[in-house]
C-alpha cells in the first residue's frame, strides 16, 4: 500500500482537494437522495454519479490515496453497470453509498493523509470482497480484525517480546455444515506446534456457522519453519476448501469512529470560497478605473499650478474616486455572497435519515434557493435550520395514520425557502403538521414556572414561550430533537447574527418559522442619532419609525415618561442617561427627537438630541481589551473619522423594560 507522508502533500493542493471533494460528495449525496425519492431518475442521474465517482477516483489517485481510489473505482464500475442496464440501484445500496460518502468526507476533512482511509468495510459492504481483482492488495480484501483492549495489550506485549504470530484464513465450501466442528478439529491439529490466540468469529459465536470463512490467530514462541507450516496447512479437514497461513503482525487501528449517518459533527468552518469568475473580472475592471483616476491625480500634480481649472479637475477626480471605491467595495462584498442552495442541499439527506427513523414519510420543497447570502452567515444558519427541521419532523408532522384521520395526505411536507427583503434575507421553514398547541404550551410553561398560572397572554406571547430557555413541548426526550437544547439555542444563534425569528402556527394546519437575517455581517443599514454630542448607530431593523415631538406630548404614567403612539403608550428612554449624564449635555430646546425601537411586540421610544439619518455602516468589532458590553454590539467609523458606537436595541429594551417576556 502506498502511503503519502504528510509533508509530501503541498498544503494548497491538499486544501484544494478537500474543497473539491467535499463539493463532489455533497452533490453525490444530493443526487442519491433524489434518486431514492424518485427511482426512475437514476436513468438520467447515473451519468453524473459515474462522473463524480470517476473524478474523485482521479483526484485521490493524484493525492496518493490508493484506498480511496480503489473504492471509488468500484463505485464507478457499479454505476457503469447500471448505465449499461446490467445492474440496478436498490435503496439498501443507496444507504451504503450515503454512509460511504459521509465516511469518506470525514476522512478527507481530517486531512491526515498519513493515515490511510479504512476502506475495508466499504469494499465488503459494496459486495466486492470475493472479486479480488488485480491491483487490489490481497490483504485489503481480508476481513478486518478487531480486538478488545486486553487482547490488544497481549498482542503488543508478545510482539515486543519477539514472539511470532500467524494469521490463518480458513475458507469453507459453499455447502459446508458443522463449521464449528471443522474449525475445532483443525485447531487441535495446529496446536501441536503452536497455540491459538483467537478464533474469529469466536468458537461459541453462532455467527461462525454462517461465516464463509474463519480467521485464526496463532502464536509461536520461536516461529514456525516452512515445513511445519506446510504440515499445519496441509491437514485435511472436512468441508474446508482453502487454508492460507501467513505471518502476521498486530497493528493498532487508528481510532476513527464511523458516524452512523448523515449528521456528521460539523467540520471546522471552511475558509475558502468558490467565486464566480465574473465577480473577479468586475473587481479587475474597477482596479483599471482606479488606475485611470490615479493617472489623473498624477497629471494634476505635474501641472504644478493652482488654478480654477485644476481645482475643477480635482473635484471631478475625487467624485470619480468616491464612486469607484464605493462600487469596488460592493463588488468586494459580493465575493462573500453564496447562494443559499449550498446549505439547503444538505437537508434532503437529513430529512431522509430522520424520515426513516421516525417512520414518517416527508417530502421537502424549496423555493428561492438561489438567493445569495454572506458565506459567514450561511454557515451559521446550518445548525439552527437543522434544528428547526428536526423539530418540524419530530413534533410538527404527525404520524401517517394520524394524518389520514385528519384528512391530510399521509406524506408530510416541509417547505424551505428564502427571499430577500431589503438588506435582509428571510428564510422560512413551514410544515403542514399539527401546529403548536397553545394550551399545551401554556400548561408546560406553568409547570416549568415560566409563567404565572393566572397570566393573561396573547397567542403571540404564548408562542414566544417556546423560545424560553429549558422549554420543550415534546412529552418524551427523543434523539431527534430532544437533545437537551431547545429553541432558545436557535434564537440565540439567530440573534448573534443580528437577526430575528418569528413563528406563525395554526393548530391542525402547521407551523412556519421565519428567520430574518442580514445579508451580510460586515455592512448594515443603520439609523444615526446624536446624544451628548456623540453620534450613535442603531441597526435599522430595530427602528420602527422616528418622530419630532413636543414636550407636551409626553405624559407621565406612574412616574415614567410615556408617549402615546396611535393609542398605544410607548415608554420613553432618554439616551443621554445611558452615559450617566442627566441633563448637562443636552441643550435641546423645542421639539424632541424620538426614535421608536421595536423588539417583537415591545416598543421603546428613545429620546435623542438629534436624528442624523440613515446610513450604510461597516461594522467593526471593538478590541477585546474592552470587555463585552451588552449594550454595544460594535462600532463604526464615520466619514469625519469619528468612532460611532452601534447600540444593541434589544439589550437596550431589555435594560429599560426588564421582566418582559421574550
Amino acid at each position: 500500500m502506498f502511503v503519502v507522508s504528510g509533508n509530501n502533500i503541498d498544503q494548497t493542493l491538499s486544501r484544494l482537494f478537500v474543497a473539491e471533494t467535499r463539493e463532489q460528495l455533497e452533490k453525490f449525496t444530493q443526487i442519491l437522495v433524489d434518486v431514492d425519492n424518485e427511482p426512475n431518475r437514476i436513468e438520467t442521474e447515473v451519468h453524473e454519479l459515474f462522473r463524480i465517482a470517476h473524478n474523485i477516483k482521479g483526484s485521490s489517485g493524484m493525492m496518493g490515496l490508493s484506498n480511496v481510489k480503489e473504492v471509488m473505482h468500484r463505485v464507478e464500475n457499479h454505476f457503469d453497470e447500471i448505465r449499461q442496464g446490467k445492474a440496478g440501484l436498490s435503496s439498501e445500496m443507496i444507504d451504503v453509498l450515503l454512509r460511504l460518502s459521509d465516511d469518506l468526507l470525514s476522512y478527507i476533512e481530517a486531512e491526515s493523509w498519513q493515515n490511510p482511509w479504512n476502506s475495508q468495510q466499504w469494499l465488503e459492504l459494496l459486495g466486492f470482497e470475493s472479486q479480488g481483482k488485480a491491483g487490489l492488495a490481497n490483504a485489503q480484501l481480508k476481513q478486518a480484525l478487531e480486538f478488545n483492549e486486553e487482547q490488544a495489550k497481549t498482542l503488543e506485549s508478545w510482539q515486543s517480546a519477539g514472539k511470532k504470530l500467524y494469521r490463518v484464513d480458513l475458507k469453507f465450501r459453499q455447502d459446508a455444515v458443522m463449521k464449528t466442528v471443522s474449525v475445532f478439529t483443525w485447531k487441535k491439529h495446529a496446536e501441536q506446534w503452536c497455540s491459538t490466540f483467537a478464533v474469529i468469529p469466536a468458537m461459541d459465536d453462532p455467527a461462525l456457522e454462517q461465516a464463509d470463512g474463519v480467521v485464526l490467530i496463532l502464536q509461536s514462541e520461536t516461529g514456525l519453519d516452512e515445513q511445519t507450516l506446510g504440515k499445519i496447512s496441509g491437514y485435511p479437514v472436512f468441508d474446508l476448501e482453502k487454508v492460507q497461513i501467513e505471518s502476521w503482525e498486530y497493528r493498532p487501528k487508528p481510532a476513527k469512529p464511523v458516524p452512523p449517518s448523515g449528521e456528521r459533527a460539523p467540520a471546522a468552518a471552511d475558509q475558502t470560497i468558490r467565486v464566480d469568475s465574473v465577480k473577479i473580472d468586475r473587481l479587475i475592471n474597477y482596479i483599471g478605473e482606479l488606475l485611470t483616476v490615479k493617472a489623473g491625480f498624477n497629471d494634476l500634480i505635474e501641472r504644478q499650478e493652482q488654478s480654477k481649472a485644476v481645482w475643477n479637475q480635482l473635484t471631478k477626480l475625487v467624485q470619480q474616486f468616491e464612486q469607484i471605491t464605493s462600487d469596488f467595495q460592493l463588488a468586494l462584498m459580493e465575493l462573500r455572497m453564496v447562494p443559499l442552495n449550498q446549505i439547503f442541499a444538505r437537508f434532503p439527506r437529513i430529512i431522509r435519515d430522520i424520515s426513516k427513523r421516525l417512520n414518517k414519510p416527508v417530502e421537502i420543497e424549496f423555493f428561492g434557493e438561489d438567493t445569495e447570502i454572506d458565506k459567514q452567515i450561511s454557515e451559521k444558519l446550518v445548525d439552527p435550520l437543522t434544528h428547526l427541521i428536526r423539530n418540524a419532523m419530530d413534533h410538527g408532522i404527525e404520524s401517517p395514520e394520524k394524518r389520514q384521520v385528519s384528512g391530510k395526505p399521509s406524506t408530510g411536507k416541509i417547505r424551505l425557502g428564502a427571499s430577500q427583503e431589503g438588506d435582509y434575507i428571510v428564510i422560512s421553514i413551514s410544515d403542514d403538521g399539527n401546529g403548536i398547541d397553545l394550551d399545551k404550551v401554556r400548561q408546560k410553561a406553568v409547570k416549568n414556572k415560566l409563567i404565572d398560572p393566572s397570566a393573561q397572554l396573547s397567542k403571540e406571547e404564548i408562542i414566544r414561550l417556546i423560545f424560553a430557555p429549558g422549554f420543550s413541548t415534546a412529552e418524551k426526550v427523543s434523539d431527534i430533537s430532544g437533545r437537551g437544547v431547545g429553541l432558545d439555542v436557535v434564537e440565540t444563534s439567530i440573534r448573534s447574527l443580528k437577526g430575528e425569528i418569528e413563528v406563525d402556527s395554526e393548530l391542525g394546519k402547521g407551523t412556519t418559522f421565519r428567520l430574518k437575517v442580514p445579508l451580510t455581517l460586515a455592512i448594515i443599514q443603520a439609523f444615526l442619532v446624536k446624544s451628548c454630542g456623540q453620534t450613535m448607530a442603531i441597526p435599522s431593523v430595530n427602528v420602527l419609525e422616528s418622530y419630532a415631538i413636543r414636550t407636551e406630548d409626553i405624559q407621565n404614567v406612574g412616574g415614567n415618561d410615556v408617549f402615546s403612539l396611535r393609542q398605544e403608550f410607548v415608554p420613553l428612554f432618554y439616551l443621554n442617561r445611558l452615559f450617566g449624564m442627566e441633563d448637562d449635555c443636552s441643550q435641546v430646546s423645542g421639539p424632541l427627537s424620538l426614535v421608536i425601537l421595536n423588539r417583537g411586540r415591545n416598543k421603546l421610544g428613545l429620546v435623542v438630541d438629534e436624528l442624523v439619518g440613515q446610513a450604510e455602516i461597516m461594522i467593526k468589532q471593538i478590541n477585546k481589551a474592552l470587555p463585552d458590553n451588552p449594550l454595544v454590539s460594535g462600532a463604526t467609523l464615520l466619514g469625519n473619522g469619528e468612532v460611532a458606537l452601534i447600540l444593541d436595541a434589544k439589550q437596550l429594551i431589555a435594560e429599560v423594560l426588564p421582566g418582559k417576556v421574550g
Partner: protein, 189 residues
C-alpha cells in the same frame, strides 16, 4: 503643539530602530513616574477625544480608532484615584499585551530610558498595594523612582474596579483628616 509632534516623531523613530532590551518609555501620572516596556508600545499618537462607551468603568475614557482598529483608552489617573478634571492630555500611548490593544491617556511622554538588569528591583510589599499591584518592577532614574507598569493587570477590568473601590474607601478616610491633595502642576518640565 509642534513641539509635541516633534517629540512624538523622534520617539516613534526610536521605536523602530531599537533592538529590544529593557527600555522604558517614561511618563508621569499624578505624582509618580511610570515606565512602559518599549516592546509593548505600538505607537504614541496625539490625543484625540475618545468616544464614550455607556456602562463602561470610569477609568475607561472611551474608544478611539487606531489604524482601523477600535481600541479602548484608559485613564491611569483615574485608576490611581488621582484624576482631576482640568488636566490636559496631549498623547495616547497605544500598547499591546496578550493580543489586547489599548491606549493610555498621558499628559506627556518624558523620555526613553534604558535600564540594566541590575538596576531593576522588585516592587516592595507596601501596606497599600492598590497602586503596586499594577507594577512589574521599579528602578531609579535621576533620583526619581520609575514604576514599571504591568500592562496585563490594567486590562483585568474587574480587578481594577474592585481595587478602585478599596482605594476610594481609604482616601475618604484620609481626607477626613486633611483636605484632599491637589495633583496639579505635574507636567513634564
Amino acid at each position: 503643539m509642534a513641539a509635541v509632534d516633534n517629540i512624538m516623531a523622534i520617539l516613534n523613530l526610536q521605536f523602530t530602530s531599537l533592538e529590544g532590551g529593557t527600555q522604558q518609555v517614561i511618563f508621569n501620572a499624578g505624582d509618580d513616574y511610570f515606565g512602559i516596556d518599549i516592546l509593548n508600545i505600538k505607537e504614541i499618537i496625539r490625543y484625540i477625544p475618545p468616544t464614550k462607551v455607556p456602562k463602561a468603568p470610569v477609568f475607561v475614557e472611551g474608544v478611539i480608532n487606531f489604524r482601523g482598529e477600535i481600541i479602548p483608552v484608559l485613564n491611569l489617573d483615574r485608576v490611581f484615584g488621582s484624576a482631576s478634571n482640568n488636566k490636559e492630555y496631549t498623547v495616547i500611548v497605544v500598547v499591546e499585551t496578550s493580543q489586547k490593544m489599548y491606549g493610555l491617556l498621558v499628559e506627556n511622554v518624558l523620555d526613553i530610558v534604558s535600564f540594566g538588569t541590575a538596576e531593576i528591583q522588585p516592587v516592595p510589599e507596601f501596606s497599600n498595594n492598590e497602586k503596586t499591584q499594577y507594577l512589574k518592577s521599579m528602578a531609579k532614574h535621576d533620583d526619581q523612582i520609575v514604576l514599571m507598569l504591568d500592562l496585563d493587570k490594567l486590562v483585568d477590568f474587574e480587578a481594577v474596579e474592585q481595587s478602585m473601590a478599596r482605594l476610594k474607601a481609604s482616601q475618604s478616610y484620609e481626607s477626613s483628616g486633611k483636605r484632599s491633595r491637589s495633583s496639579k502642576n505635574a507636567t513634564g518640565e
